[in-house]
Amino acid sequence: MAELTTYRESVAEGIAREMRRDPAVVCLGEDIGAAGGVFKTTVGLYEEFGPVRIRDTPISEQAIVGAAMGAAMTGLRPVAEIMFSDFLACCWDHVANEIPKVRYMTGGQVTVPLVIRTANGGGLGFGAQHSQAVENWAFAVPGLKVVAPATPSDVVGLMAAAIRSDDPVVFFEHKGLFASKGPPAPPEHLVPLGQAACLRTGTDVTLVALAATVPTALAAAERLTAEGVSAEVLDLRCLVPLDMRAVLESVARTSRLVVVEENPYQGGWGGTVASIVADEGFELLDAPIRRVAAACVPLPFADRLEDAVLPTVDTVAGAVRALAAY
C-alpha cells in the first residue's frame, strides 16, 4: 500500500491539483503565501504558483471574501482562506447575504464559483473564539454548498469538486484532523458534492457524523461491537447538498438514529437531519432520535473542560447503547 498522507498535506495537494488544471484558480488569504498558512495547509503553493496566484492579504476578512466574490463573478475561481472559521463572523455579510444570494436575486445573471476554505472545530484548547464548529452557520444560509471532509483523500476529492463547482462552497477543514493520516487520494480523484459515505455497515443503529465526529462515531461503533451492538456509520461529507437519501435508507435498515455533531445542540445541523427523519422516516423508527452535540456553551479553554462539553466516544457510545436497548 502507498504511504499514508496527512489531512493537512491533502489540503495543499487538493488545491495544487486544481491550480495545475485550471489557470483561473487563484488563492488569497492571510499568511497563505511564503509562510504556507498558519496551519501549513498551503505549503508549497507559493513556490509552485508564485505570488500572483497565491496572494497574501491584510487582516481584512470582508475585503478577502468580498474581493473573491467580485473575482468569481468576472472569470476567476478564487479560493479564499479564512484562517479560523470563527472569523467567518467578520465577513458574515458577504458569506451569508451577498455570495449566496446574488445569483438568485439577479434572476440568474451571474455565477459565483468560489471556495471559502476555513479551519473549523475544537478540541485543541484554542478557547472560545478559535474553536467553534460553525458549519451550522453556513448550513442555515440557502445558496451555499457546505463541505466538511473527514479523511485525507476526501479532502482532495471534495476540494476538486468544490473548486470546479460553479456554485459558492464553504469548505470546512477540521483543525483536529489536520494531523490525522490516511491513504492518499488517487490521481484525478473527485468526490462529488452531496454523497454521504457509508464507512461501516451495521444493523442496529445508524450513526450520522461529519468531519471530526466521524472518527468519534467510528470509535464508538467499534467499542460497541464488543457489547453486541452493530452500528452503521455514515459520513455526510457535505451538509449542502444534504444526502438525506443515504440517511433514510440506512435508518430503513436500522430503525434507529443517532446524529453526532460538534456544534452546540441548539441550532445544530443535526436538528434538520433529525426533523427530516422524524417526518419522512417516522414509520421507520423504532426508537427516539438522539442527537449527540456539544453543550450549549462557548468552548472553554482547559482541555478537561473542553472534553466535557464536546461529543466524545463515551457520550456517543452511551447514546447508541441507550437506543439499542430501547
Partner: protein
C-alpha cells in the same frame, strides 16, 4: 466611451438625453410606487444623473460597474432600458432580474453592470475583486464602485481601500455624496467634512472632490482616473457632491432637509446645468427639447410595456439558486 479631453457637443447632447431618460424613469417609478404598482421600496436617484452618465460615458463598454440600492441611474447608464428597470420594479417577468431582485438589485450583467447591493458597503470589495480579476486576465478593464456618503463610515470601505491601494488595482471608488444618509446628515456622524476624499490619504490614494451635478466634471474625472487605473497606477477616490431630489426611499418627503438647501440644489439640477452648458455651446433650445421629448416618449412607452408585461411564473421562485438553474439543497 470618450477619451478625448474635449467633449464634443453632440456627445453632450446625448448625455443630456441619457440624463433625461433617467429622470423620467425615476419620476415614473415614483408615480408607480404611489399608485401601488411598485411594491417594497425604491430609492430614487433623481438628482444624481450626472454622476451615472458622466462616469459611464467615460468608461469602456466592458468595464465593470457595481452600484447600491440607489442604482437605477447606473443600470440605465450602463445600458439597461427603462422598460427592463420599471418592469423589475413592478415585479414583472420581463424585469431585469425577472422580478426576483426588485428596485434595490437592478443588474445588467451582459453589460458588465454587475449588480446593485442593498447592504451598505458590501459591494466595494466586489469591485476590487473584479479589478483584480481584470489584472490577472490582462483584460485592461477597470471596475467602478458607486456608493453613498454614508458608506464611508463602514468597515468594508476601509478594508477595501487599503487592499485596492496595496494591490494597485484598477478600481475607481466614486462616492455620491448627497449630504444625507437616510434621514441623518452625513456631517453629524463623520469625523471629516468630505467623507470620501478626506480619507484618501489614509490609503495614499489620489482623490478628486467635484461637483457631481456637472456631467462634464464627472466625465473628466472618471476618464482621468480610468486612464490611471488602466496604466497600472491604481485606484482613485472620487467624491461627487450631489443631491437627491426625492426623499430617501418610498414615501419619505425629506422634511429633515432645510428648505433653502433643497431649493439651492434644485436650482443646480444636473439637467439644468447641462442645458446651460449646451446653450453656452450654441445648441438651439429646440434640440434639447427634442431630446427631452424623446426621453419622455421612451419612458412612457416603457411604462406601458412594463404594465402590460406578464408576472413571473411561480415556478421561478424555485430556480437559479445554483448555477445549473436548480434550487434543491438535498441530493
Amino acid at each position: 466611451m470618450t477619451t478625448t479631453a474635449e467633449t464634443a457637443t453632440a456627445e453632450l447632447l446625448d448625455w443630456y438625453e441619457q440624463m433625461a431618460v433617467i429622470r423620467r424613469t425615476e419620476q415614473a417609478a415614483q408615480d408607480l410606487f404611489l399608485a401601488g404598482l411598485v411594491k417594497g421600496t425604491t430609492h430614487l436617484a433623481a438628482g444624481h444623473e450626472a454622476v451615472a452618465v458622466g462616469a459611464s460615458t467615460a468608461l469602456r463598454d466592458d468595464d465593470y460597474v457595481f452600484a447600491t440600492y440607489r442604482g437605477h441611474h447606473h443600470a440605465i447608464a450602463r445600458g439597461a432600458t427603462p422598460e427592463e428597470c420599471l418592469a423589475e420594479l413592478m415585479s414583472k417577468a420581463t424585469g431585469l432580474c425577472g422580478g426576483k431582485g426588485g428596485s434595490m438589485h437592478l443588474t445588467k450583467a451582459d453589460r458588465n453592470m454587475l449588480g446593485s447591493y442593498a447592504i451598505v458597503g458590501a459591494h466595494l470589495p466586489m469591485a476590487a475583486g473584479a479589478a483584480w480579476s481584470a489584472v490577472l486576465r490582462g483584460s485592461g478593464q477597470v471596475a467602478v464602485a458607486f456608493f453613498g456618503d454614508g458608506a464611508t463610515n463602514i468597515g468594508t470601505f476601509h478594508e477595501t481601500l487599503n487592499l485596492a491601494a496595496v494591490w494597485k488595482l484598477p478600481v475607481l471608488f466614486v462616492c455620491e455624496n448627497n449630504l444625507y444618509m437616510e434621514y441623518t446628515p452625513i456631517g453629524s456622524v463623520t469625523a471629516v467634512p468630505n467623507p470620501a476624499a478626506d480619507r484618501a490619504a489614509a490609503y495614499r490614494l489620489p482623490a478628486e472632490l467635484l461637483d457631481g451635478n456637472d456631467v462634464l466634471a464627472v466625465h473628466a474625472a472618471v476618464a482621468t482616473a480610468a486612464q490611471r487605473a488602466r496604466a497600472g497606477d491604481g485606484p482613485t477616490i472620487i467624491e461627487a457632491r450631489t443631491y437627491r431630489q426625492f426623499g430617501h426611499s418610498r414615501t419619505d418627503p425629506g422634511k429633515y432637509r432645510p428648505e433653502a438647501e433643497v431649493a439651492q440644489w434644485l436650482a443646480r439640477d444636473p439637467l439644468t446645468l447641462a442645458r446651460a452648458a449646451l446653450a453656452d455651446r450654441g445648441v438651439p433650445e429646440s434640440d434639447v427639447d427634442a431630446a427631452d421629448q424623446r426621453a419622455r416618449a421612451l419612458v412612457e412607452a416603457a411604462v406601458a410595456a412594463a404594465k402590460a408585461a406578464p408576472e413571473p411564473d411561480l415556478a421561478t421562485a424555485l430556480t437559479d439558486v445554483w448555477a445549473d438553474g436548480s434550487a434543491g439543497w438535498r441530493s
